[in-house]
């Protein structure tokens, strides 16, 4: 019988520690499928960051480097500059990338570092039990905004793709979501294109993935998907911001 579905080679044969219904696992799988399809596992270096995915170096079969909170783009810069033939990706959450690591992501993008960032926006700090993230929506209840995020007290959520799109060094930027099959397929295409942009030496590429955190949103997995669709997508419009027609 022909095999129609199997674990990508780039993903280790271990079970992941993520909560039921968490979409981090789907995103890992998409990255691994792309690594397989582009046949780059042997030269890919992944940079794990600090958040629920701090130890995703246990899940990928390529070489991995764990970075301090927010510093993955700087670490990735060092790895890539050391061996420019390698393919380097960072995997970062919204707290990691858009709060403590704002300087590092902006400047890696501005320098046009030939690395790829997979930015997972779940509108919350998952790992540290549900505090406000820079991407937390207005009125969203978190453990540090127990009365809901207010514009007056907490300011506005940051739209990372829009922010980085103004930088010339960032050549491919797209926002995707993993809430349904169609969007998951689009997400994979975007991640693949982002890696191809790096392989073609074009510059910095980033894919923002809207993701669920049922545990800290206080919702079951199905409700979490609905919440993402009804609240996150309207605020974080899906689509390509830059580099759609880039030849790779």
């Amino acid at each position: 019988m022909p095999t129609v579905f199997k674990r990508p080679h780039a993903l280790k044969e271990v079970s992941m520690h993520y909560c039921p219904g968490c979409t981090h696992g789907i995103i890992h799988r998409l990255i691994a499928e792309v690594i397989d399809e582009l046949d780059i596992e042997g030269k890919t270096i992944g940079i794990s960051s600090v958040g629920c995915t701090y130890n995703n170096y246990e899940y990928f079969n390529c070489d991995m480097v764990q970075a301090a909170h927010g510093r993955a783009p700087a670490v990735g810069t060092g790895v890539k500059r050391a061996n420019p033939d390698n393919v380097v990706f960072t995997y970062q959450g919204d707290g990691d990338l858009a709060a403590i690591g704002t300087a590092e992501i902006v400047h890696a993008a501005a320098r046009g570092e030939k690395i790829t960032t997979v930015f997972v926006n779940n509108a919350i700090y998952g790992m540290t039990s549900g505090q406000m993230a820079p991407t937390t929506l207005i009125n969203q209840v978190t453990t540090t905004t127990p009365y809901g995020r207010s514009v007056e007290k907490h300011g506005f959520p940051i739209r990372v793709c829009e922010l980085l799109s103004s930088l010339e060094g960032a050549v491919y930027i797209e926002r995707v979501s993993v809430n349904d099959i169609k969007n998951i397929k689009n997400a994979k295409q975007a991640i693949k294109k982002a890696f191809q942009v790096q392989l073609a030496n074009k510059g910095f590429s980033l894919v923002e993935v809207l993701s669920t955190c049922p545990t800290n949103w206080g919702l079951n997995p199905n409700e979490a998907i609905k919440w993402l669709e009804n609240n996150m997508i309207p605020h974080y419009p899906l689509g390509n911001f830059k580099g759609k027609d880039l030849e790779v």
Binding site: E41, G42, K43, T44, I45, I47, S48, Y54, N55, Y57, E58, F60, N61, C62, D63, M64, V65, Q66, A67, A68, R71, A74, V75, G76, T77, G78, V79, K80, R81, A82, N83, N86, A103, E104, V106, H107, R111
Partner: protein, 352 residues
Amino acid sequence: MGEKILMKGNEVIGEAALRAGCKHYFGYPITPQTEIAHYMAKRMPMVGGTFVQAESEVAAINMVYGAASAGVRALTSSSSPGISLKQEGISYASCAELPAVIVNIVRCGPGLGGILPAQCDYFQAVKGGGHGDYKMVVLAPCSVQELYELTVEAFNIADKYRILVMIMGDGILGQMMEPVEFKDKEEIISVQKNWAASGTKMNRENNVITSIYIDPEKMEKHNLKLQEKYSRIASSEVKVETYNCENADIIVSAFGSVARIVKNVISMAEKEGIKVGLIRPITLWPFPESEFLKYADVPKAFLTVEMNAGQMFEDVKMAVNGRKKVYFHGRMGGMIPTQQDILDKIKEILKV
């Protein structure tokens, strides 16, 4: 030996790093060490190397973390306030056992302080300015020639032990021009970095560089491994210069540029019939305790002279371990101890 040329301390650091095979420099401008960056910016493209002006010292040390993870020799340099920002990366890289070299051309502090020379980052360098139980090898050269030799050696020590090595100088050393004699060929140890994250090429298990161990047993085991490494280094990498200590009336201890001032004091004192010895720690960590113990019974007292409020002073007291009284003379804020002040202090201690 090759030809002798006149060069500025900071530039010699850059040249020495290149000679040691370091082709990756990451830094952020700060006085009084910026000439290192200028030198690297000019030279790296000539040798096919990397020079990155980072967005901050935090980013620069994390770029070093990445480059060292990938298995290449990497350098960053800064001065005191910038070194404070690097402490996060220093702690992480120490835990991940990454070899790299960090230069601190110390300026006076605390705070933004001033740009003039000081030695007030001794504690931060040798006691661990970042979090956790870690050590860096800390080298304190006192001349431009030694700056060159120790910079090359720093890379060898880093690779040999998978450890961070800090070269600690001050504005005097960094800005000073002195003749330096480069070797025709450097001795560069070759180590197999089969732990590096440079791509599996599909012919080995994947390598992981990490500093996180959630399981307490594993974290303790890793700590024990680090401590074992530190004791190996402590027993084999101590460097110290001892001068005139036999029959000394007093032994002065100083490191870096201050040691050179003390050497002048030794001849001044000689003329007045006072015998002054010098113990100059070249490795501030590991500290040359046994050298102090060896001479503890010789002089009437010890004196440490530093450009700070008394930092190495504590380690000297610990090493002398109560066998003799240890005195301190120091200047701060970019002020430099004068020969006369040191001599007066010696006379006051010896009551002559």
